[in-house]
Every structure is written in C-alpha cells, then in structure tokens.
Amino acid sequence: MAATPWEGDLARELKERFGDQIGETSTYLGQNFIVANPEAVVPILEYLKLEADFDYLVDITAVDWLKRPERFDLVYIVYSFHRNERVRVKTHISDGYKPETAVGVHLTANWLEREVFDMFGIEFAGHPDMRRILMPEEWQGHPLRKDYSIIQQDQCWVQENLGIESGQ
C-alpha cells in the first residue's frame, strides 16, 4: 500500500495559497502529510496556525536518508484542537543547508530544533539559542546520522572528561 493523494479542503487551500512550493499532498494510513520546499515551511506553519487553527506544534524531527542527495527529511507535526486533526509538513534538505527556525511561529520549536541540531547537525538559521541540548556541549559528531556507528564515541571527550584511556 502506497501513499494516496490527499483530497480535502485544506489540501486544496494550501495548494492554492502556496502553488508549486508544495510538491505533494498525500495521505498514508489515514494520516495526511505535505511535502514542501524548505523555504516554504515556516510560511506554511504560520499559515496553518493563523488561518487554519493548527495552533499546537507537536514535534519536529528529522530522518537521515544517507544515500539521497537531499539527505535529510525534516518533519514538522502540527495539530489543531479546533479541528481535531493532525498534519505533517515534510521537507527534503541537503547536508549543510540551514533551514529557517520556526521559533517565531511556535515557541515549542526552541528545544525541539535544538534536539534536531544536536542529533543530526542541522543548524537552524535565526534560532535564538542554537546549542546542543542532550549531548555534552563539546561533543564532536551527531549521533543520529546514519554514518555514525552505534559504538562510536567522541574518544577525546571520553578520555578527557571520564578519564577512560581507551576512549570507549
């Protein structure tokens, strides 16, 4: 079973408003999602919040598709209390691309984007506090990238801070 086109008023409104900035409006397993150009994501989130009542940013996360030229999927999940409906806004970005921060639209984005930065090394432009959040601040490498092995450590950090000579 593959994703099928999402036919709905909201999908149509979004397509009318953003035109070819939105590449795909689909539904899979009853869950609606759109795929948009990276620069259109924040305007879309803003539109969804102000015009369509999607006032709750549930989550921001990323998926690393190592072999694809546009390496990362950046995924925003928004929910509307009024409509009782959830939509995923996805975008494809390449390594090194700095997407715009969504903090101006939803304050929740602050920590969520910091976690994405920490785990994937995706830096958000205009973020007020772009630091690591879960890993130590001096740590080298971003653990959730697919080319970061599960037993990999930042050996220097481990030797220096934990006093373990092997660095493992």
Partner: protein
Amino acid sequence: MKAASDANMPDATFLDSTELVLNMGPQHPSTHGVLRVILKLDGEKILGTDCVIGYLHRGVEKIAENRTWAQFNPYVDRMDYVASVSNGLGYCLAVEKLLNVEAPPRAQVVRVILTELNRIASHLVWLGTHALDIGAITPVFYCFREREEALNIFEKYCGARLTTHAFRIGGLQYETYDTFEQDVKAFCDMFPPKVDEYEELLTGNRIWKGRLTNVGVLTADECKEYGVTGPLLRAAGVKWDLRKAQPYSGYEKYDFEIPIRQNGDTFDRYIVRMQEMRQAVRIIRQAVESIPEGPIMAKVPKVIKPPVGEAYVSIEAPKGELGYYVVSDGGVQPYRVRVRPPSFVNLQALDRMVRGGLVADIVAVIGTLDIVLGEVDR
C-alpha cells in the same frame, strides 16, 4: 553557599541588588532525578532559568535503529519508568499502525486495565514526591502503600513491577492469571476511599493551598504555545484528552469524564490529577466487567517487517501526549523511531512558569510538571 559569600562581602555591596547565579542540581532531591537548573536571582526573585539536561541520555532512538522491531519493545519502558505500561502501549500501537493490524478485543481491554492502573501508579508517585517537596511528609508513605497494590498486579501478570514490557506488537504475550479480575476489582474497591484520605490531608490544608495557589500559572494560550499537554493543559481549562479526542485501544467504549480546572496554577493541576485517578478507577471498573473471551494476539508474522512507510501515533500518557513517529524501510529493523516525550516538551515551559516568582516556588513547579528525567533525556 550564599551565606558564605555574604560573610566575605564588604558592607557596601550588601545593599546592591546585584544578580546572583545559583546552581540547582543535578544532585538535588527535588529535581526528581538529574535535572540541573541554573537560576538567575535578584534576592528571592527569579529573573530567569536555564535548564541543563541530558545526564540520562542513553541514545534510545539510536538503539532502536540497531534492534529489530520486537527487540526494541522493552527499551521504551526505560524512558518514563514510572509509567512504563503507557510507553509500551504507544510503541505497540505505532508498529501495529504500520503493519495495519489491530489487537484483538480481549487484548485491548486488558491493555486498558493495565494502562489505567499504571496511570494511577504514576500519579501516586507524583503526588507523594510533590507533597514531600512542599514539606508534607506523610502522603508519600500512603501513596507508595497503594502504588504497591497496583505494582503487585503487574508483577503477578507479567513478572515485572516497574519496567513491565507488558504488551507485544499485535496484542499480549500472557493470558491473564487466575485471580486477575478479583485482584483488579479489589483494587477498585480499595482505592477511591484512599484518594479521599489524601484529599483529607491536603485539599483543605491551608499550608498546602498557600504554597500552591497562584504558583506557576500557565494559561491555556501559553500551554498551546509551548506545546504543553496532559494535566497541565487541562488545569488551564482546555478539555482535551487524546483518549476522547482520538480514541485508541477501545477507549470510546468507556464512560468517563475529563476533569478540568480554570486557573492553570499548581493547585488546579493537583485537583485535576486527583480527579484523574478517580476517573481511572471508573474506567478500570467498566473494563474489568467486560473482558471478552477470545484470542489475545493478532495475526502478526514471527519476523516483523512493516511495509515501507511512516506513521505517527500518540496516546494520552499520564504526563501528556506521548507520540511515536516510526519510519520503516521494509527491513527487520526500524529505520527511525522518534519519541515525542511529554516530559521534555513540558519542561520547556518551566522558565515561563517560575520567572518573576520566588525561589522557593521552583520546587513546587518542578513537582507539578511531573517530569521523569529518563524520558526527558532518553
């Protein structure tokens, strides 16, 4: 620390209202784990906070990518370890969604019973430690006494008390034991009078009210802005609970209410959680009366290989919306498992809740957030 530096200070600076930076945690009994908060103070007033988290980071999401779908199941229990059953339910539902299967009716009802028992157990840990932080020492003993009864049921059911691994993808591994229904009914009869007892100790208590009323206020709009869910949102007057909004596991069949309050302060959140425990008993009673006969496991292949695709499934955990965003590339291992932890997102609102308040209130606010650091850090 403050007294020592005061003693060394010349008198003139005594009168200066200079900022004081105070470090709280990570080894502080009322941070409920290893949370470090850097407080910027002007006297007793909090000017700002900065949370340092990650001390318990184990890379759960990375581990998921290196285990099979079924092997990862027990790991989720180790995130929010006081509500491990809810964690397991969320994960199983997410994978079942990808596989497009549904647990059989009997499994669903047993799942509801255990999940609601776990909600009570989780709220009891919150109540006991929260009251302890505020200075009421007695309730924690009562709470843990009753929690023990719930944990005994888990132990008899699956052998584990805390990290239960109670559910499997597709249903349940174990049939209920012989006296399961009697035990659950006995708990339902025993528990509501105990809630009355806690309320007797606390609800009308002037010190308790004084310490909680108008402390750490978070309005409905602020909750939405910060993505705060669960009892915090409901105490701010938003009647929203995923069990009602988007029912899963057969919650639409049960008759229960969503308790709400209007002020969004720490006292209201206390009342909401107390009511939720009573409602949980109500759900368990209905469920245990209606356990259907039948299989406990859906038809799931031995080796789980969900088709290529992705899904986001969330449940109402005791702390708020717990979501799993799962991505499959068709292989035996998850390509990506993202956990949307309620504690992590709710903790972000700490700064807003304590800013401008008194330093003594931060302990009350951390207590009322009901965070588990295992889930914040993952």
